[in-house]
Symmetry: D2
Subunit: 363 residues, 4 copies
């Protein structure tokens, strides 16, 4: 079930970079929910490359066609199928990497797994383009969560050596989120965003690429969502987020930093505010025992530098085991982190709506 | 399905800290596999507290009783059920935290989720004790993987301010693993282990606790295992590993560090050695596009300091919303990291055997 | 996942006929539900052989030991594990069929599937004894359904040439159910029950066996439960009910008889009664499009004659492919239908509670 | 997961009768399999109505567009998405049944479940049209099974009072299948087919409808496929087959008839032929303990008369609870049984390929 996610809400993603179309089937959403199509389009544009000078030259308008699941714009209970036709197709794209795999790309592992039958055009099923259907599903889930008062916002925490300010884990960050939403570039501190864009431009000129860290906050998640053991919030958010190509790590709350603290420093004391139980700090990132505590759910993911770069690299010709030098031309991004921000929100939204559905069973 | 893991190999874990017993059901292992019971016992002892001066005073011999699934010690195809009777039971343990939740423990979230009906003795279903059945399942999966040539080894990478040397990601670390296996304390560099143990002892004397980082290597995993999207190795290993209480983050390969590198620095060039395709470096940690590359699979998890500490902390009485100060007495560990090492291997083994099973379908 | 059932409520069954124990893990029941242990024991006795002159001589008291999931008798949210120790064990039972498979038993297919490693004592994992844990899970699910007003009752519709009266599909059958509950032998018409028992006694004296048909009614199921396509009530009840050994068919409503009717005869007209929408007839058996209509859900299953008989039969020695004649001695039933009645209720209860849970998500 | 089927092979179906399109996503087929498109089209035509004087006037050519998963006609390992655009759309079709549900159709239950938001045009998600994507998936699975030597053939066993000859359960029925494949109307005995067609024509003239029984044989299935308990062949074939609208029952082997036999009559003796273990009779229908025995797998399903008929029937207006008389006009079939034959093969093929995949894991 490599392309199926979820127990209650089922999301099935399909498509390759240069196949006729890409898309998603979403099952078991509540009937009677009206999708705000403008909002969905705006969400999709945060992922797409159009008018973003820093990103890929491939021009896809990413118009969504709903084949099923809606009457007008309202869910009818049947599974939604939404597709995007690939228009700017070039089946020869990256074809040259069929035999000579790009370092740190999935070319090699796909070749082994699919015994040479994989679709090599444009990275096939492993292309970042597959995050478009992820964002369709995630964008709809975000709207449904919103209806229940739950919101999800991510920003670039870091690109190379430049860091944005962090969310304050112990509060709802209204001001920070407002700033974030007002910026075209998804950071809280506009100036840091300008610096990051410079870094990306320089990397692009050097035919090189950059990675970064994305931070995501889920606000207003009621306490009690998630399960112990294998179906905790951490388990399922991770399972969803690693579907985004290039993500190589995830941490919740203060994450890897908690290794540097003593229990007395890391523990988050409970207190009462407005007759609600809160924690003074939020090193636990809103999750205790896999279950939401009612505090903001905070996590960060690291995105590796895009492997496709124009600099000469060492590889191997798989047909004859000869050494080869390759340069990757084509329409790739020097930094996929800005576009991955919406993808992280999308993956989180899918995982959280699925767990929210579980939570409703015995409520 | 909070306590069920796996698509092909299904692992179902049950029990509470002070229930009559804890255990696991494992379904769809190959018939005809002879479990080496001595090896399994030795593996369990790496997790259990017996004779470990640094850890909990609770005395459980953790004797495994196999109720089903074996004829002699050999799998018969029917699901294995293995149980451990809880013997050193004290139902009153931690009962005092029924109303006043321990900071950063699951007491509060369990109370909300289960509406006050949760088993509060000893942390109930959220107790670290539930990692014993995880280790039974993992220990058996490790033996089966071994039969296919695949091995998994973890060590403590860091406790507080003390770091062990790392696995060399680009090779099989035979020497390091030998050192690791020769040490009682699961580190490669014995001296660092002695320092870590001192740190733990000091924390214990201060009634405080420490966290740390565990590094795990899977060697000899054939290329081609794992799926794109939602069923990649990262997705499923994460889903399994976050079942270990106190794990707050996971990273693969060079993980969060890759944000500091350019693509040209982070990419791992392919080359030929003994007519095998390898990578010169292994920043990708053996996984590209969710699929194994044949290089060692390397990941690290962070374990937070145990929340139960003897130092006074602020909390709230949930029955009347009054502020309270609590100290956690009882039989807790000052540092659960050493015992979590086997758990990380166990969780990884379950996830990898499940994906290895998927891989065999169309081989 | 041969022994795992359910999407929301997960039921995992384990054990072999002569293993140390058999049992079940049940996950995701609502916390705070008090199990009526007397009622559960009474339900189990309807399946067990004690004091039933017609059935197996194996004496098992089937005492349930709850290892986990309860505080007192109340669910605490953690998975329930309930086990029954096998006491009247005879590992040599049926051992002789290891090489010479009993006709129409699973001896042969188990041998092929598990490559000779299957547990052959007493039928191993294929023994009717495994319906005991099914009944534990089902008995608890029945109690939970009852709390929501939903009841499930089955009776023997037919044994060999003797038929009980049928449930009236279009009403709630209160009188019939009362009669049924007052009979020791699970039929509505006591006289027919006496005849059936005579038939069984005769078959037993002839060292032969009999099959039969069981009819089951689910009353008070609200309209709207079930899903179209693969997760309809028919799909999931079937999937559960075929877990009972010897079941070879299932039909809903008027079932196979509808092939003899025209649409105008088979369709069930809607009408209003007490401002509720009902159907005048109930050929549809309470299910339309996989979804409950609010009318009684009626289904029937056929149970084949037990394959273990004392009459000489032709078989083959699998070690040398020689023809062999075998007679099955041992402690088998001449007719398992009476004991299967509770099993059918149990399987239905598990499937229906699971779907009822799904239904609650967006209610 | 109402529209997702399968553990290893995942089939996700979407669409409504009059939505823009209908389709299916199929995941985890083996890479490198070349689909015979002509054969697939021929299979689809057995389901579709074109040129069948007896069936619906709706004209759909059912051209399949593959959006993903193929390179040329060869599977590339990525999920296949195949869609059919609905062309002969009439959103007003059956709209009149939005308020007044057709007796024995899913109009009423869909209204309750989806709270009035269901797509009412043409039966929405409950339309028989959704069996087209089922047949796409099934048609591809049939071709893959064929590659492994396994074949599946179904025929009409009965319509109203007219019966075709049955498959001989104990042999491979080569002659019967040849006759069947030579007939346009899917029966073995051509004369009986002519009679059946007459019956249908008469029913059609009377504005009435007829149901029937379909018999299906799976030949050459190796022994050892399927699992005990919940994942037996019976469980999973049933789960798949009840996805076909109007199926109300299923039986394996001699099915409900076994209730009339004694064990000594019903048991199938083993014998040796050409050093293979076979059974002399095949009342067990090729399945013992949920696992294939190597004998032909035989099952029968009953299809109820189509509920949409032109005869006046009693119903209720759901907006005001008034009694209403309705006649169903439109483009419905008088007998859907002939078209359902391919659907039964398709559902069986999906279930069996999924279980065949499980079987390969530890082979």
């Amino acid at each position: 079930m490599s392309s199926v996610f979820g127990k209650n809400i089922t999301v099935t993603i399909f498509g390759q970079s240069h196949s006729k179309g890409i898309g998603v089937v979403i099952d078991n959403l509540p009937a009677g929910f009206s999708i705000d199509m403008e909002q969905l389009t705006a969400f999709m544009q945060r992922r797409s490359a159009i008018d973003k000078p820093l990103s890929t030259k491939r021009k896809e308008k990413d118009e969504i066609e709903f084949l099923s699941g809606l009457v007008g714009n309202t869910t009818c209970g049947a599974p939604i199928c939404a597709i995007i036709y690939n228009k700017d197709i070039n089946p020869e794209d990256y074809r040259s990497f069929k035999d000579i795999p790009r370092p740190s790309h999935a070319d090699y592992t796909a070749h082994i797994k699919y015994k040479g039958f994989q679709d090599t055009s444009g990275g096939g099923h492993f292309s970042g383009r597959l995050t478009a259907p992820l964002c369709i599903a995630g964008g709809i889930c975000l709207q449904i969560l919103e209806k229940y008062g739950i919101s999800i916002h991510a920003h670039i925490k870091k690109i190379y050596d430049t860091e944005d300010i962090s969310f304050n884990p112990a509060e709802d960050n209204r001001e920070n989120i407002e700033k974030l939403l007002n910026n075209d570039f998804p950071v809280i501190d506009k100036q840091k965003g300008i610096l990051m864009q410079e870094r990306i431009r320089t990397a692009s000129q050097q035919n090189d690429s950059l990675g970064g860290i994305i931070e995501c906050a889920v606000n207003n998640l009621p306490a009690g969502i998630g399960e112990p053991m294998f179906d905790g919030l951490e388990n399922n958010i991770s399972k969803a987020v690693f579907a985004i190509p290039a993500v190589k790590g995830i941490e919740f709350g203060n994450g890897f930093d908690c290794a540097n603290l003593k229990g007395s420093e890391n523990n988050d004391p409970f207190y009462i505010k407005d007759s609600k139980i809160l924690t003074r700090t939020n090193n636990h990132g809103g999750i205790l025992g896999g279950i939401s505590s009612g505090m903001p759910l905070i996590f960060r993911v690291v995105v590796k530098p895009a492997p496709s770069i124009g600099i000469e690299q060492e590889s191997v010709n798989m047909t004859n085991n000869n050494s080869e030098q390759i340069k990757v031309g084509g329409r790739h991004d020097a930094c996929i982190v800005p576009r991955a921000v919406a993808c992280v929100e999308a993956a989180a939204a899918i995982a959280i709506l699925d767990m929210y559905a579980s939570y409703r069973i015995w409520e």
